[in-house]
C-alpha cells in the first residue's frame, strides 16, 4: 500500500476501532463481572436455612435489612443482619444435601458459638460466629483486596466495629485466637462479629465437654445454612426444592434485588461483543474493498513480479503480509485507544451500575492483548484473502497488459 497513505490510514483506523472495542469490552466486562461478583458475594445469600424454632419476627432482605437485633442470643448473620433465634441447632450434614441440589451454587454453614463479653479485650459484647472458610461467601468477601481471604488454624477475622486490630490475640473460653484480618465496614451487624473457623469451634467444644454453658453446641451442629443459587435460577424455586428435604427447618428467601447486577453485567458484555462483531464484519468488507482497489492498481507490478519468477504463493503471501503489518499497526493503536476506553468506561460504568469495577492486574491483561491483536490481524488477513487470491491467479501477461 506504499503510496496510498489515505487508504493505509483507513485500514489502520478501521482495525484500531475494532481492536479497541474488543479489548475494552473484554477488559471492562471482566472488571464488571469481577466487581459484581465481589459485590454480589458481599450482598449475602439468596436463602437461609434455620432451625424450626427460629422466631419469624423480622423483615429481611439482602441489603438494607431492617433487622437490628444483635445480642447474646443472636444466632446467624444473614445479609449483614443478625437473626435472633433460640439456641437449637441443625445437623451439619444438611449442607452436603443442599449443595447437591440443582441450581444451588454455594451453601455454607454458620454457627453462633457464643459471645465475647470481656471489657479488657473489647469495649462491647461481640458475637463469636464460626464459619466454614472453605465454603464461606458472605463474610470473608468483606476482607480488603490486600488481605488474605483464607482462614486457618486458630485465626479469626473481626468486623470493622469491633475495635480489634490485625495481629491482636483474643482469649475466649480457653481458646486463643489471632485476628488476621479486619472486614471492611458494612454498616450491619457483621461489623460487631468475630469470625473463627468452624473446626476451631468444634475442637473447643469437644475439649470443653462438661461445661456446656461455654459451648452449648456439639461438633457437627450448625445454626444455619446460607445458600446462593446459580445465576438465572429463582431463589423461591430452590427454596421449594429444599423444603421437602428439610421438613424440620425454615427456609427464608431473600429479595431478588441483587440478581439484577449480574444480569445487567452480562447484558453489557453481550451488546459490547455484538457491536464489536458487527464492526468486524464492516471492517472486513472495508479492507477487502481497499485491497481489491490496491491489487487492481498494482496489477502490472504483480504481473511483472510473476514474469520475473514470483510464485502464486509468493504473491498471495506478500499481500497477506502487507495487510497483516498494517493491521498489526492498527491493532497496537487500537490497544492504546482501548486502554483509554477502559479508563473512561470504568468511570461511566461504575457510576451507571453503582458497582465496583475491579480491573484485572496487568499480567492478566496479556491474554486480552494477545487475543485483540490476533483478532485485528486476523480480520485483516481474512479481508485480504480474496484480493490476494485474485492477485495470485492473474495471468501475468494479462495483468501487465491491463495494468498499462
Amino acid at each position: 500500500m506504499r503510496g496510498t497513505p489515505v487508504r493505509t490510514a483507513t485500514v489502520v483506523i478501521a482495525v484500531a476501532v475494532v481492536v479497541s472495542l474488543l479489548f475494552s469490552t473484554n477488559v471492562l466486562t471482566t472488571a464488571l463481572e469481577h466487581g459484581a461478583e465481589i459485590e454480589n458475594a458481599r450482598l449475602g445469600a439468596d436463602l437461609v436455612i434455620l432451625p424450626p424454632s427460629f422466631s419469624w419476627a423480622y423483615s429481611y432482605g439482602r441489603v438494607n435489612s431492617s433487622v437490628s437485633v444483635v445480642g447474646p442470643t443472636t444466632g446467624i448473620i444473614w445479609n449483614g443482619s443478625s437473626y435472633n433465634i433460640e439456641l437449637t441447632y441443625l445437623p451439619g450434614d444438611i449442607v452436603g444435601t443442599i449443595t447437591t441440589l440443582t441450581g444451588v451454587k454455594d451453601a455454607s454453614p454458620q454457627l453462633y458459638a457464643g459471645t465475647l463479653n470481656d471489657s479488657k479485650q473489647a469495649s462491647k459484647p461481640l458475637n463469636m460466629i464460626a464459619i466454614d472458610p472453605a465454603t464461606d461467601f458472605t463474610v470473608l468477601s468483606w476482607l480488603g483486596p490486600q488481605q488474605n481471604s483464607k482462614l486457618e488454624g486458630d485465626q479469626a477475622v473481626a468486623g470493622a466495629g469491633t475495635g480489634l486490630v490485625e495481629g491482636q490475640e483474643l482469649r475466649w473460653n480457653g481458646l486463643t485466637l489471632r485476628v488476621v484480618g479486619i472486614l471492611e465496614p458494612t454498616s450491619t451487624s457483621l461489623d460487631e462479629g468475630i469470625f473463627l473457623p468452624l473446626g476451631v469451634a468444634y475442637r473447643a467444644s469437644q475439649a470443653a465437654l462438661g461445661t456446656p454453658d461455654q459451648f452449648p453446641f456439639k461438633p457437627g451442629q450448625i445454626t444455619g445454612v446460607l445458600v446462593r443459587v446459580e445465576p438465572g435460577t429463582s431463589p423461591p424455586v430452590i427454596a421449594q426444592e429444599i423444603r421437602p428435604y428439610l421438613s424440620a427447618a425454615k427456609v427464608l428467601e431473600a429479595s431478588p434485588l441483587a440478581r439484577t447486577v449480574g444480569v445487567e453485567t452480562s447484558g453489557v458484555a453481550y451488546y459490547g461483543l455484538v457491536v464489536a462483531g458487527v464492526m468486524a464484519v464492516a471492517v472486513i468488507v472495508l479492507i477487502a474493498s481497499v485491497f481489491s482497489m490496491t491489487v487492481n492498481e498494482r496489477r502490472r507490478q504483480l504481473g511483472l513480479f510473476r514474469s520475473l519468477g514470483a510464485t502464486r504463493l509468493f504473491i498471495f503471501s506478500s499481500i497477506l503480509e502487507e495487510v497483516g503489518a498494517v493491521a498489526l499497526v492498527g491493532g497496537i493503536i487500537g490497544l492504546g485507544v482501548g486502554q483509554l476506553v477502559v479508563y473512561f468506561g470504568e468511570l461511566y460504568l461504575s457510576a451507571a451500575f453503582e458497582v465496583t469495577l475491579l480491573l484485572p492486574p496487568t499480567v492478566d491483561l496479556v491474554p486480552f492483548i494477545i487475543q485483540s491483536l490476533i483478532f485485528g490481524v486476523g480480520i485483516g488477513a481474512l479481508a485480504s484473502t480474496y484480493p490476494a487470491f485474485v492477485a495470485s491467479v492473474m495471468d501475468p501477461y494479462e495483468a501487465i497488459r491491463r495494468g498499462e
Binding site: R2, G3, R300, Q301, G303, L304, F305, R306, S307, L308, G309, A310, T311, R312, L313, F314, D395, P396, Y397, E398, I400, E404
Partner: protein, 232 residues
C-alpha cells in the same frame, strides 16, 4: 499453439493462430510484424506468461503448462529473461533494487551487489546505481530492464520491442548490447520488433500477420510488410 480471446457477442480474436515454431539453442530470432499482429502475445506464450488456448510450449523438452506453478516460476526466474516494451521498472525502487529484484525468486540469492554493478557496467549505467526510474531517460530505463533480465543468468532472453521509443544512436547501442550478450552468457534470444532494419541482426526472421507466422529472409522484408489493418 493458439491463443484466442473472446470479445463478447461471439467475437473471437485469434491473436496467435495455430503457430508452430521451433527455436534452437543459440539462435537469435527476430519477429517482425505490425502492431496487433500477435508478436507480443506469441512472445508471452513462449515465456509462459499466458496459457495457450490450445497447443503446447516445450522448453528443454518439458511441456511448460504441464508443470506446477512453482516449477513454471522457477523456469521463468532461472531460464528466461524478459525485456518488456512497456516501462517495467518498479518506480519506488532504485536501479540497484530493480536489477536485483529477480534474485528474490524462486530461491532468494543474497550478496548480488557485485553482479548488479557488473551488469550495470555492461549496459553503461554503473553511475546510476542509486537513481530511481523517474530520474532516467527511456533508453536508460530499457538498459536497466536489460540488466534486470540478465541477473539470473538466463539461457533465453525474450525482448519485446527493446528499441521502441529510442533514437537511432541509442537503438544502435541496444542492439550492440544484445549481440554482445548473445555472444556471451545468453544462448538464445527472441526479439520482437516492428523495425525492419533490425531484422539483419537475427539468425532467423519471422513475420507475423493476423496471428499467423511465416519464416522470411531479412533481405526480403519491405516496409509494405508492416502495412495492414490491425487485428487487435
Amino acid at each position: 499453439m493458439s491463443k484466442y480471446y473472446k470479445l463478447g457477442a461471439g467475437t473471437i480474436v485469434k491473436a496467435v493462430d495455430k503457430v508452430s515454431l521451433e527455436i534452437a539453442d543459440g539462435e537469435f530470432v527476430i519477429m517482425v510484424g505490425r502492431s496487433g499482429s500477435g508478436k507480443t502475445t506469441l512472445l508471452s506464450l513462449i515465456g509462459g506468461l499466458t496459457k495457450p488456448t490450445s497447443g503446447t510450449i516445450m522448453i528443454d523438452g518439458k511441456d511448460l503448462w504441464s508443470l506446477d506453478d512453482r516449477e513454471q516460476s522457477r523456469i521463468r526466474a532461472e531460464k528466461i529473461g524478459f525485456i518488456f516494451q512497456i516501462p517495467s521498472l518498479i518506480t519506488t525502487m532504485n536501479v540497484m533494487d530493480n536489477v536485483r529484484l529477480p534474485t528474490m525468486f524462486p530461491n532468494h540469492r543474497e550478496n548480488v551487489g557485485r553482479e548488479v554493478v557488473q551488469l550495470l557496467e555492461l549496459v553503461g549505467l554503473s553511475d546510476k546505481v542509486g537513481a530511481h526510474p523517474s530520474q532516467l531517460s527511456v533508453g536508460q530505463q530499457k538498459r536497466v530492464a536489460m540488466a534486470r533480465a540478465l541477473i539470473n543468468h538466463p539461457e533465453i532472453l525474450l525482448a519485446d520491442e527493446p528499441t521502441s521509443d529510442l533514437d537511432k544512436a541509442t537503438e544502435g547501442e541496444m542492439m550492440s548490447l544484445l549481440r554482445k550478450i548473445h555472444h556471451g552468457s545468453v544462448r538464445t534470444i527472441v526479439m520482437v520488433t516492428h523495425n525492419l532494419d533490425l531484422a539483419k541482426f537475427g539468425t532467423k526472421v519471422y513475420r507475423m500477420t493476423n496471428g499467423l507466422i511465416e519464416r522470411v529472409e531479412s533481405e526480403d522484408l519491405r516496409s509494405t510488410d508492416l502495412i495492414g489493418e490491425p487485428t487487435t
